[in-house]
Symmetry: C2
C-alpha cells in the first residue's frame, strides 16, 4: 500500500471522551466558565486529538517551510522575479528571514524542504532535498503536475511530518515559499469552494491594480481550462499545483495520523487544507488556524474549513510567520488544562446560582 493510503487510513476523528472530559474540566477550573472563549474549545480539541485530558503540551514545535516554483509565473502574475524563491530559501538557511526570527522567539525549529524549486540547490544544513520536479508547469497551458507528481509531493509532506514527529515534535507548523503561489492558491480555493476567481484572488506579496485584474483573469482561464472536480482532490492539485500545496496537504495528513496538532499559516496552507479535507475530512481534527491573512481567498478557505483563526492582524508574509505567532496561544490553551487549579483544590468559591 502506498504511503498516502497508509496515512489516510490512520486518520481518526477526535476522541469524544477526552473532548468531553476537557470541557467538563474547563468548568471546574478557577476562572469564570467560558472566560477563555475559543481557547477553551481549542484545549478540548487538543485533548481529543491526544485522546487524553489534560493534553500534552504541544512542544517542541517545528515549522516546515515547503518551497516550490510555479509555471504560471510566466503569465506575469507578480512583479517578483522567480529567482526570489531560491534566494529566500538561502535566506531561511542563513537564518535571516522573518520565519527564523519568529521561530527563535517562540522556540520552534525550522526545516526547509525543496519540494519543487526551479533552480538546483546545493546541499545545506537544514535543507531537505525532496524536489519532485523543478517547478510546476503553467496551469493556463495544461496541468501544472501529473497525478503521479501530485501524489509524490503529498508523500514528501507526509514523510517530512512523520520524520519531525518521530524526532519528538509535538506541534507542527506549516510554512511555504514560492513566488506566484498565491495564484495557485486562488485557483485551488475557487476549485474547492466554488467561489469566483475575483473573490479569492488577492494582491499576494503586493501587486498593483492592473496586475491584480490580470491575475484574476489568469486564474479564471485556468479554472475554465481544467473544469476542476472537487471530489477528485489529487486531480485538482495536479491541475493547478503547486508542489508546496500538495506537500502541505500531506503534512496535514501525517500530523493527523500521528495525532499531533498542525498549525496552519496563511492562504497557501488554507488552500492545501481544502485539498486535504476533500481527501480525508477527519484530518481537520488536527488543524488549528494560526491566523487569517490579508489575502481574500484565505478568509473564504477558513469559512469553508470552519476554522476560526487565533491571530487576525492582516499579515501577508507567509513562510509560516502567522502560524508561529499563534504557537504560544495553542500551547497556552493546552497548559490551562494541565496547570490551572480547580475551584475545589484551590479553595475558591464559585459564583452564587
Amino acid at each position: 500500500m502506498r504511503l498516502l493510503d497508509q496515512t489516510l487510513a490512520a486518520i481518526r476523528p477526535l476522541d469524544p471522551a477526552a473532548v468531553a472530559q476537557a470541557a467538563e474540566r474547563q468548568r471546574r477550573l478557577t476562572k469564570p466558565p467560558g472566560s477563555l472563549g475559543p481557547l477553551e474549545d481549542l484545549g478540548a480539541r487538543l485533548a481529543g486529538l491526544a485522546g487524553t485530558c489534560p493534553p500534552p503540551l504541544p512542544e517542541p514545535a517545528a515549522v516546515a517551510v515547503f518551497a516550490g516554483d510555479h509555471g504560471v509565473h510566466a503569465q506575469g502574475v507578480t512583479p517578483w522575479p522567480q529567482e526570489v524563491t531560491t534566494q529566500m530559501v538561502q535566506n531561511f538557511l542563513a537564518g535571516g528571514a522573518v520565519v527564523n526570527a519568529f521561530a527563535a522567539q517562540v522556540g520552534a525549529s525550522v526545516v526547509v524542504v525543496d519540494v519543487g524549486v526551479a533552480a538546483t540547490l546545493d546541499e545545506a544544513p537544514g535543507l531537505l532535498p525532496r524536489k519532485v520536479r523543478a517547478g510546476t508547469r503553467d496551469m493556463t497551458a495544461g496541468p501544472a503536475l501529473t497525478r503521479d507528481e501530485a501524489v509524490a509531493a503529498v508523500e514528501v509532506g507526509i514523510e517530512v511530518a512523520a520524520s519531525l514527529t518521530d524526532s519528538g515534535a509535538r506541534a507542527l507548523l506549516t510554512g511555504d515559499m514560492g513566488i506566484a503561489n498565491t495564484t495557485a492558491s486562488a485557483a485551488l480555493i475557487a476549485a474547492f469552494t466554488g467561489a469566483d476567481a475575483a473573490v479569492v484572488t488577492g494582491r499576494g506579496a503586493g501587486v498593483d491594480d492592473a496586475t491584480l485584474r490580470h491575475k484574476v483573469s489568469v486564474v479564471d482561464r485556468a479554472l475554465a481550462r481544467h473544469a476542476p472536480e472537487p471530489s477528485d482532490p489529487i486531480g485538482v492539485l495536479a491541475a493547478f499545483g503547486g508542489l508546496e500545496h500538495a506537500a502541505l496537504a500531506g503534512f496535514v495528513f501525517a500530523a493527523a495520523a500521528a495525532r499531533v496538532p498542525v498549525i496552519l499559516d496563511g492562504v497557501i496552507a488554507g488552500a492545501a487544507a481544502l485539498a486535504a479535507k476533500a481527501l480525508a475530512p477527519d484530518c481537520l481534527a488536527a488543524c488549528v488556524a494560526g491566523h487569517r491573512s490579508a489575502e481574500p481567498g484565505h478568509a473564504v478557505a477558513l469559512r469553508t474549513l470552519r476554522l476560526e483563526p487565533l491571530v487576525d492582524l492582516g499579515l501577508r508574509l507567509g513562510e509560516g510567520s502567522g502560524a508561529l505567532l499563534a504557537l504560544p496561544l495553542v500551547q497556552s490553551a493546552a497548559r490551562v488544562l494541565r496547570d490551572v487549579a480547580t475551584f475545589d483544590a484551590a479553595g475558591v468559591s464559585e459564583k452564587s446560582p
Copy 2:
C-alpha cells in the same frame, strides 16, 4: 516633589528619529513591504520608545497583578462573593491560576500586589503588601476613595513598575484581580469617554440579564452622583476607584518614564489607561493593547485610546491573561528589526518597479 509628579515629569513622547529609522529599515528587510501590518508599526514604536533602532528585545517580562476590593460589591453587581478576591490572590501565589499558566508558557514572572484587598493577607513570597485601604467605599454612597488615597494607589503602581524595571524587566504587563472591578471600570470609561453606562457596562465574569440591568443602573447612579470631570483624573479615580485602577495608571506612568513597553490586559487596564492618558497623554507611547476583551467598555476605551489590540478572541478573564498571550507578538515585532536580513545583505532581489 512627590513621586507622581517626578514620574509624570519624566514622560516623553516617542523619539521621532528612531521611529523613522525603524520605518525605513522595515522597507529594506527581506519581506514584502508592509506585509507584517501592525507589527511593523509596533516595531517602530518600540524603537521610538527605546530611542534606538533596532529596539532591545522586550524581555525579561513581568506581569504585576494588582488586587483590590470594591465597596460597590454591596450593591449586588455580581454573583461572585467578595472573598473570591482574596482566594484568587492565594491561588496566584500558589501558582494555580491562568495567569500563572500563561506566564510560565511565555516566560514571564508574576508578582501580586495587594493594593486594596478587603481581607488581611499573610506575608507570602511573590506578594507585595501595599494596601492603601481595605477595599474602596461604595461609589453609589460617596467617593470610593479620597484624593490622597487615589494618589497613594497611583504611587504604589509607580513604585512596583520602577522596582521591576530596576530589577531588569524590559516588558511590563498589567494584571488585575478584584470582584466587582468591571463595575468600577464601566464608571471610569463612561466618565472619561462620555459614553452611556448601558454601552460600556458588561457581564464581567458572567452575570445574567437582570443583574446586568441592575449593574447598568448602579453605574448610572454613581455617574449621576459624582458628575465626574474628565479633566480631573485623580478626582475621577477617587469617585469610582478602584485601588487597582489607580495603581495601574501609576504602573503605566512608570513604564513610560522608564521607556519600557507596557502591555495592557483587558477592560480594567483600559479604564486605567484612560485615567493615565488624561493626566499624561504621552504615556500612551509606552502602551501596547494586548487584547480586546468581550467586555463592551473595553472596545470603547481602546477606540478612545487609539490602540489596536494584538489578540481579539473575546476573552473575559483578566488577571493579565490577555496581555501574556500578546507578549510573544510584541517580542516578535522587536525581533524582526534586530534579526531579519536586508535585501542587500541577503542577496534577495526586490520586486520590479
